[in-house]
Amino acid sequence: MSARKHRPYRRALRVWIGLMLLLAATTGSAWLPLGAWNSVVNLVIAAAKVLLVAVFFMHLRDAGGLVRLVACVALFMLVLLFSLAASDYLNRHIDPAPWQPPRQGSSSFGEPGQLSLNVPQTVEHGVEVIPEPAALADFDCA
């Protein structure tokens, strides 16, 4: 607040120009054959743009340490998510198996069809279901 500038809106304009230049850079660089580096360049530029927005438009420049910390913490958590999950995905060797999911012909909204809606599976209902203690054929083996 102390550094009130004399010319209003100047900063916003300058940041806007910077953002536009970066946008041009990122879009243009996408056609350069850099291989994997394309993504790196793109992400670095995106980070720079976000930094501009955060620092100037979102006033992180004037913000206290607490707000700055909060601004970073979610990023930090996502890094944790990605890096720990990477310990799985980068080390897995998957043998794919043929699998065609049985698409159920049920209603397009995926919820139970009229069947279970008609007769709600309530608990009282279930109590009466099996008249005599069923012999569990499956467990007779031991």
Binding site: P8, L19, A30, L34, S39
Partner: protein, 208 residues
Amino acid sequence: MSAARPLDTLAAPEQRAQAGTLGMWVFLATELMFFGPLFFGYWYGRLQFPDAFAAASRETDVVLGAANTALLLTSSALMAAAVEAAQLGARRIAVRLLGATAALGVVFLVVKGVEYHHEWQAGLFPGDASVLVTGGRLFFLLYFAMTGVHALHLVIGITVVAAFAVAGAGAKPRWGPGQLGLVGLYWHFVDALWIFLFPLLYLLGRSG
């Protein structure tokens, strides 16, 4: 240790602003986490199907995407200017800037809608009718989910910004610069999200 503050701090306006700013930032942190699984799914797909992802990304409309990025960045700059104007007491200017901000947001949505329409017609929608191969369907699923959730946020942002523009137009403003600042934070956040979505979704595989 940080200094303690007097009881009932909400009475003091600057304390209220402080609570508001902190609250908004915490909220934005949750918003970023909310997008986490989408980024995570994207990352998984990229690892698993690098080529299909690149191929699918080439199907997106990079011209409209870049134009939209420019629109959103501009709206953000206007929003920043609006907040500045409000702080300087230039309410009329602020209101006009807000109107422009919201308008750019609407244009963004319209462009996005046009893109969706093309993609639907091209059979890129990841349903059973999709023309794409395995990884590509995954890409477009994420494309629609990410841009869709982003658009939803933008709709909320536009509504609030427009409401502020209307509420500020009268003789007696119904908000102060502090509150507008919070709206600004939200708007910039939505913008920042797009800044990441753009290269991830549109620029992949262009050189390949």
